[in-house]
């Protein structure tokens, strides 16, 4: 019975940076070694805390990019130029450094195989991070749930996990669509406009198929996508949203 379970406080713990991978000029993935990690669900996040020498704390939330099945916890962080935490994580952090965090946190913006589908994932910019955890979980668990990802980025060099996502298109159950809103390479055959009702109508399953939808990105992006999905007849109760704060521009 859940009521009898021992409640666990959300304690701070220290991880060690094991690997750093530059995903794009503005984003970096941080692979962490965490001795006390209790596991997570795809879509959850952690709080990261930095402490200055004078004791001042700055704390931000970052989505978990790895699947529960992956050996290590991975965060992918986008640098916000006026940010207090992200410039340090993207530019200064080194392998072997320690990082203070607590989590996993959240239970609403979570997808696991048992929730079923079809599954529509809509990402704006670094909003792809928690959706990538879901995609990796889908693959690691051998799920047969059909998945479509629609990912909006400014340009091809801004696409996070580009190789991994491109490789996924070879998987029968997964369809990946990119839209590049500002700059497209010569010969680009993907979409080249901001997400709107017409684009979602083209990429998404029709509302009668009742897909489960997860939308993540900057606030404006998420609200545009959500309004368009509802206008297309999708049930609000099957649409889950996560808004990212702090970004100056949207994808």
């Amino acid at each position: 019975m859940e009521g009898t379970a021992v409640r666990r406080r959300l304690n701070w713990q220290t991880g060690t940076v094991e690997e750093l991978v530059s995903e794009t000029p503005r984003t970096r993935s941080i692979r962490l070694g965490l001795p006390c990690w209790s596991g997570h669900r795809p879509g959850q996040h952690v709080d990261v805390r930095l402490t200055a020498e004078d004791g001042y704390h700055a704390q931000r939330s970052y989505s978990i990019a790895s699947a529960p099945e992956d050996e290590n916890l991975v965060l992918t962080v986008e640098r916000l130029d006026d940010g207090e935490v992200s410039p340090f994580l993207v530019d200064e952090l080194r392998t072997g450094d320690e990082l203070e965090l607590r989590g996993p946190i959240g239970g609403y913006f979570v997808w696991e195989t048992a929730r079923g589908g079809p599954l529509l994932l809509v990402a704006g910019g670094s909003g792809v991070v928690p959706l990538r955890a879901m995609l990796r979980h889908h693959r690691a668990s051998g799920s047969a749930v059909p998945v479509r990802l629609l990912y909006s980025a400014r340009s091809l060099p801004d696409v996070i996990y580009r190789d991994e996502l491109t490789r996924l298109t070879g998987n029968n159950a997964i369809d990946v669509h990119f839209t590049l809103t500002r700059e497209q390479p010569v010969g680009w055959r993907g979409y080249r406009r901001r997400i709107d009702r017409e684009l979602l109508a083209e990429v998404a399953w029709p509302a009668v198929d009742r897909p489960l939808v997860y939308v993540c990105g900057p606030t404006d992006f998420v609200e545009t996508a959500a309004a368009a999905l509802v206008a297309l007849g999708h049930e609000p109760g099957r649409i889950r949203l996560e808004r990212f704060g702090g970004t100056g521009g949207s994808a």
């Binding site: 409640r7 607590r102 239970g107 609403y108 913006f109 808004r243 990212f244 704060g245």
Partner: protein, 83 residues
């Protein structure tokens, strides 16, 4: 002011309630609509945290820290049910 959602205060809600709350259902004391707390309209840059009902804009949760003591005002929330 940037509008976020209940996911952004998942850690604070966990601290206050001692368990995961974003998937819990909150009922608005203003209009009676019942939705997951993860869907609340959240503003972090108010003096403290303000979470509003997405149906009627009624203030459902206010969290303010005063000299290290966290003050939580839930008068705008009629009911909370764990997921």
């Amino acid at each position: 002011m940037t509008r976020l959602d209940g996911n952004a205060i998942a850690g604070e809600l966990y601290d206050i309630f001692g368990t995961e709350m974003t998937a819990a259902t909150g009922t608005c004391a203003g209009c009676g609509s019942a939705r997951p707390l993860g869907e609340l309209a959240v503003y972090l840059q108010a003096p403290g945290v303000v979470a509003r009902c997405t149906s009627c804009d009624h203030v459902m949760i206010v969290i303010v820290e005063i000299r290290g003591v966290r003050c939580v005002d839930l008068r705008g929330t009629a009911d909370v049910k764990k997921a």
